[in-house]
């Protein structure tokens, strides 16, 4: 089992991450990936010019690793990658990339889904959107919390 968990302050290339993850992989039957992109519009439709993810060096990486370790313990996966941007991100850029490799596809799908639900609510980031009308802080919405709650009732 390899857990590759990284914080990236510069551009994140999902194709390059996937290519590296697939290389020399002969024991697994499935790789599922998720790529999260910065949107050009906020939830209320107003324009977003920059998304800023503040982080706490050390704590943020630890929160990401804790989530990856929980996913690894919960699902029959062989390897996981979690790469998350920090700092200023413009619309269209990749914010997050996760990949899960497994012998069979269901575990890989579930692990990627679980990783994203937890990263979206529990990772140690502070997110701000800046647009023509100024800057505002973003907090997890009910939809994110409901997504996370789906995993509470299931046995590991």
């Amino acid at each position: 089992m390899a857990l590759d968990v990284r914080l990236a302050s510069g551009p994140l290339s999902a194709p390059a991450e996937l290519e590296a993850f697939l290389a020399s992989r002969t024991g697994d039957g499935a790789v599922v990936t998720f790529t999260g992109l910065a949107r050009a519009a906020a939830k209320d439709g107003t324009a977003v010019e920059t998304l800023t993810l503040d982080w706490y060096p050390g704590m943020t990486e630890r929160s990401m690793r804790d989530i990856a370790e929980a996913a690894a313990a919960r699902f029959a996966v062989s390897d996981l990658v979690v790469v998350h941007r920090c700092g200023d991100i413009v619309p269209g850029e990749t914010i997050v990339f996760v990949a899960a490799a497994a012998a069979h596809r269901r575990a890989a799908f579930a692990a990627a889904d679980y990783l994203m639900d937890r990263l979206k609510t529990e990772a140690a980031f502070w997110k701000r959107e800046t647009g023509p009308s100024g800057t505002r802080w973003i907090e997890p919405v009910d939809e994110d919390r409901a997504a996370l709650a789906r995993w509470k009732d299931e046995t590991p």
């Binding site: 999260g36 503040d54 706490y56 704590m59 998350h84 914010i95 979206k120 502070w126 802080w137 907090e139």
Partner: protein, 82 residues
């Protein structure tokens, strides 16, 4: 002086860090929060909120946790998630 780090909305209001004289045996998070908040109205408004949490050496802790001067202490608003 011990450096106190601020993140999220707290960092926006108070800047990335402040400092405080802590006794060698340490102080509780509650006491550190009170001492920082006593300085001015901006600090009080930024820190005296139930959703502003603290960490000691990168671990999120409660108000009764004790932090010593050689430890890394931070206050921050609720995580937004990624």
């Amino acid at each position: 002086m011990t450096r106190i780090l601020f993140f999220g909305r707290v960092g926006e209001r108070l800047g990335p860090e402040g400092s405080l004289d802590l006794p060698t045996e340490g102080s509780t998070v509650r006491e550190i929060r009170r001492l920082l908040a006593e300085r001015d109205e901006v600090a009080a408004d930024a820190l005296l909120r139930p959703d502003v949490r603290a960490s000691v050496d990168l671990v999120v802790v409660g108000e009764d946790a004790v932090a010593r001067p050689d430890q890394e202490i931070a206050f921050f608003s609720i995580f937004s998630g990624g």
